[in-house]
Structures are given as C-alpha cells and as structure tokens.
C-alpha cells in the first residue's frame, strides 16, 4: 500500500494548473522584468539608452494584459474573475494579503496601471502620442521617478510572487522548498533581458546598451544557476521521487544546460558577435519557459495517494 516515509505533501490533490498557468508564469515574469529593466535604464542609464528603455515599456504592457487574460481563461468560471478583487456578495474589496493569489491579483492590477502609464509615456517620447503631460510621467521627471520606482517594485512582485504562490500550498516540490519565488524572480529578469536583447538586435540599434543588457543577463543567469542548485539541494529526499524521470532530464538538459550554462558561456564574452548574442537570448527564453514547465507539470504529475 502506501510506502512508509512518504512526505505529507504527497497526500494532497493536484490543482490541474496546466499550460495556461505555465504560459502566465512565463509571460508575467517577462512583463515584470521588462518594466523593471526599463525603469533602471531610465533612472541610471545613459541618455542614449532611453530607446532601449522604451522598448521595455512597450513589451511590459502587452505582456501584463496577456497575463491577465491567461489567468482568466484558466478559471473554471472565468466570468467570475472579478471575485478575486471585489466580494461578490457585499461589493467590498476582496483582499487577503496572506493568500498569494489574492495578493497577486491586486499586484497585477496595480502593475498593469503603472505599465500602461509607462507605455503611454514611451509612445509620447516616440512621437506617436502627442499629449505633453505624458513626459512628466517618465524619469527623469520627478513624478516619473516616483512612478517608476513604485511600478518597478510591483514589477518585481509580479515576477516573483508566482513562486511564492506555489510555495504557499501543500503540494510536493512547491511546498517543499522556499526558493521558488526567488528562482522565478531571477528568471523573470533574465528572460525579460533576453526579450529586449532579441528585439534590439533585430532593430540593429543600441549596440552598446545591448552589451550592457547581456552583461546583466549573464549575472542573472549565474544567480539563477546558483538558486536552481540550491533549490534541488533544499528538496533533498524529494528529488528521487519527483525528478528521477523525464522531468528531471528536462530540468537538467533543457533548463540547466541549454537554458542557463550555454547562454551564460555565450554572453560571458564582452564583445560577442550579434548572432551569438541573439542565440544566447533565444536559449534563455526557451530555458525560462522550460523551467516553469518542469516546476509546474512535474508536481502536477504527482497524483493523490490512492
């Protein structure tokens, strides 16, 4: 019957969080990360890099909209998505700080507002929108700095809370390590940098700043590798039960080697040619997606003890 010594997390039911949620974790990480990178470039970067920052805002807003749509589609009663924000019986705000989904729903909503401001200000600077007051909403304007810092903090929350969400459960893997939030946050930053590198390389612009982005990405990848190793170590005796199979192979090869080590090696060179930089960025994206695939679906694969 039930093997002795089975951890208590193995007696719970899988929630069937599948592909919609995998995609949301991926796109949400990019949304938060891209906004954060854009704000950082705006705040401390050289003026010539503002075009690259604009790209960040232009990526972040559609990504956060797609994120919300993915979450709504995943609900089994999507028409009740607003129950996450408003109590359906009393019309009072529905907020539970200790429930990561409730916290995340509000964070996503608030971040969406900041991302909207960011993209509007970026389009203004681009000359596509001609509302003068928009220039006050982006650094170095004082109000723009305040908005950027607040939105950036929310962007980091959006990129990272998804891992905390998985930890605040009773499921195998997810609840067995405290490091998933950290891992997703770092991966969100690295995948967002990869998206910007790819778009900038395609536009053949901002070469010097792309180099900076690649350097940042290399740091993020190195950190991600350390966190991933620490996460596997923190799972301890759970690992043979859940990852001595195809999932583990995918994590090792798809995420560890192809998604982290290879791009890290490619990005390590300061003056890497554009094609190898683009290849590295593409691999980072594949690795970021596979990371979420493995973390979600390998836990989903552990059914209830019958």
């Amino acid at each position: 019957m039930s093997p002795a010594g089975l951890p208590s997390t193995f007696f719970t039911a899988p929630p069937e969080w599948g592909w919609w949620i995998v995609l949301y974790f991926f796109v949400g990480g990019i949304a938060g990360g891209a906004y954060v990178l854009a704000v950082l470039i705006d705040l401390v970067g050289r003026p010539e890099a503002r075009g690259l920052a604009r790209l960040g805002y232009v990526v972040a807003f559609p990504a956060v909209v797609v994120s919300a749509l993915l979450l709504i589609v995943d609900l089994h009663r999507p028409e009740r998505f607003w129950h996450m924000l408003v109590q359906s019986e009393t019309w009072r705000p529905m907020f539970k700080a200790w429930s990561p989904i409730s916290f995340g729903a509000w964070a996503l909503l608030a971040f969406g507002a900041f991302a909207l401001v960011g993209v509007l200000a970026a389009l203004h600077e681009d000359g596509r929108l001609r509302w003068g007051w928009l220039s006050r909403l982006r650094p170095p304007a004082p109000l723009g700095i305040v908005l950027g810092v607040l939105g950036g903090a929310l962007g980091l929350v959006v990129a990272g809370y998804t891992g905390v969400l998985l930890a605040v459960t009773n499921r195998p893997i997810w609840a067995d390590s405290p490091l998933l939030g950290l891992l997703f946050l770092v991966s969100g930053a690295s995948t967002a940098a990869a998206v910007l590198i790819l778009l900038a390389t395609r536009a053949r612009r901002w070469a010097a700043d792309v180099e900076t982005l690649a350097r940042f990405d290399a740091f993020a990848l190195a950190l991600e590798l350390v966190v991933l190793v620490a996460l596997v170590a923190s799972l301890g005796s759970i690992v043979p039960r859940v990852w001595f199979n195809a999932w583990g192979l995918l994590l090792l090869v798809g995420v560890g080697i192809l998604g982290i080590l290879v791009p890290l090696a490619l990005e390590w060179h300061p003056r890497a040619p554009a094609p190898s930089r683009a290849l590295a960025a593409a691999l980072v994206l594949v690795g970021g997606l596979l990371l979420r695939v493995v973390m979600l679906l390998s836990a989903e694969a552990v059914g209830r003890v019958a």
């Binding site: 002795a4 929630p15 609900l75 129950h83 980091l156 946050l185």
Partner: protein
C-alpha cells in the same frame, strides 16, 4: 455561535457498506462520474477511489494479508473533509468563497467560487475537487443546510453501525477517548485517535479512530498549513529582488569615464 460540531469516525466498526457515500450523494444531489458509466478500479471493493468535487464521502478499503493469506484484516474507513480548525483551504482562497460557519465547520460557497483551484493545493488531505457541473471547487459541507434546520448530516444519519458519529466536538472527543480505552482493554492496543486534539491543525472537527499508521489510510502523517512557507519564501524573493535591482543599477549606470571616452571620440570625429 452554536457549539462546534463535527464527525467522529470510528473505523473499527465500519463494514464498508457505503451507505454514507450514497446518502451524501443523494442529499447533496451530486452527479455521477462519466454519466453513470461503470468504472471499475480493480482495487478491492473501492471504485470511488478518492474524495473529490462529486464524492464528499469515500469509503477506503485497505486489505492487509500475509503472503499465504492465513492471517489478515480489512481496514475500512469512511473518509471526509476534516473541517480543520486551522484550514489550509480557507487560508489560501482568494475570493472569500470558503468560510467558517457558526458550527465551526468549513464551507465553500459555490456561488462565490470562480474555480481557481488554490484550495486544492492548500488542503493538506487532498479532500477538495472540482465539480464539473458547477465549475467550482466542492467538498463536504457537513450538511450545512441540514444543520441549519436542526438535522444531523446525511452520512451519519445513514450509517448503520455508528461508525460515523455526529455531535458537538466536546462530546465526540469524550466518546472517542472512551472508545479507545475500551479497545485497549479488549486487547486492540493499536487503536488511537487521528486529529482529536488541538495539536493537528488546531484540531480536526472530523477526526478518526485508527488502528494503523495514518499513511495506511491515505492520511498525511504531519499535515501542515500552507502559510508556513509564506514568510521564508517571501523573504528569499525579497533578497532576489534586491539582488536583481542592484545588479541592474550597477550594470546600467551611466559611467562618466565611459561617457568622456564616447564624447572625446565624437569630438574627434
């Protein structure tokens, strides 16, 4: 508030008749799986297999027999939502659909739930499932509607051996303790209570008398609250946010030295 109510399930007198399963399904109008098509598990006399959104009582059959089948016993347990005093499902529910009632039971309001499935991950016992008809998470309500009308829940009412007993938690705990003493006196020294005191999730308002380890019945040996991970996971993430922010500030900062170089080159050009 009324006094806390619950179930005491004495597995030693369960005969596996499944009257509780049937009574529960009838009273709560729960749909059959697969439109009622027969689905045989091949595992003992159990084709229900587990609690889920349309099975709020489940009689578990555990066959323990020696190799030559000379010695053996059946363990039978009618499983149900534990109505934890500290409920993991209630904790993580983001819509407020899961509430604690005046009877100290835990109920999912089906008209509020939007089917996000957080509670499935939060429940330490794997009790909750989606009801495909309503598209919402569902589980035992301890017959909230019957309790409000002064009736006892359908399953305990139907149980022919009083394996499922309904009452106030105070009375049930006394009765359960007496039953354990009685079994010990009769030589069944393995009898013990699972979740009958405050140590397990503040107390299970549906607790069990078992004669083997919890794992044998498909029960977690050490159920915990999901919120135990909130602070550690949040703090590690905060550390990551600081690291990412600092790395960004250092990478992207506009270095005057580098700018002078660029400026000098521009001027030269």
């Amino acid at each position: 508030m009324a006094e806390p109510m619950g179930f005491f399930t004495d597995t030693t007198v369960c005969i596996g008749c499944k009257a509780c399963e049937v009574a529960c399904k009838e009273w709560n109008q729960l749909p059959a799986a697969d439109g009622g098509a027969p689905r045989l598990s091949g595992d003992s006399y159990d084709n229900t297999r587990r609690l889920d959104g349309t099975h709020w009582r489940h009689v578990r059959f555990v066959e323990q027999f020696s190799e030559d089948r000379r010695d053996g016993r059946w363990l039978l347990m009618s499983d149900v939502c534990k109505h934890c005093v500290q409920a993991g499902c209630l904790e993580v529910c983001p819509t407020g659909a899961i509430i604690r009632t005046e009877f100290d039971t835990v109920v999912i309001q089906s008209d509020v739930c939007n089917g996000c499935r957080a509670c499935l991950t939060g429940c330490p016992f794997g009790v909750i499932g989606l009801n495909p008809v309503s598209g919402t998470a569902q589980k035992c309500t301890l017959c909230y509607d019957r309790l409000q009308a002064g009736l006892e829940p359908a399953c305990s009412k139907a149980c022919p051996t009083d394996s499922i007993q309904f009452g106030t938690i105070r009375e049930l705990r006394q009765r359960a303790e007496a039953r354990v003493q009685q079994l010990h006196r009769q030589g069944e020294s393995r009898a013990w209570l699972y979740g009958a005191d405050d140590r397990m999730l503040g107390g299970l308002n549906a607790f069990f008398l078992l004669v083997d380890r919890p794992e044998v019945y498909g029960l977690p040996p050490a159920p915990k609250l999901p919120s135990r991970n909130l602070v550690p996971s949040g703090l590690w993430s905060l550390l990551g946010a600081i690291a990412v922010g600092l790395a960004g500030l250092i990478s992207f900062r506009d270095r005057p030295a580098a700018r002078r170089d660029v400026g000098a080159r521009r001027e030269a050009a």
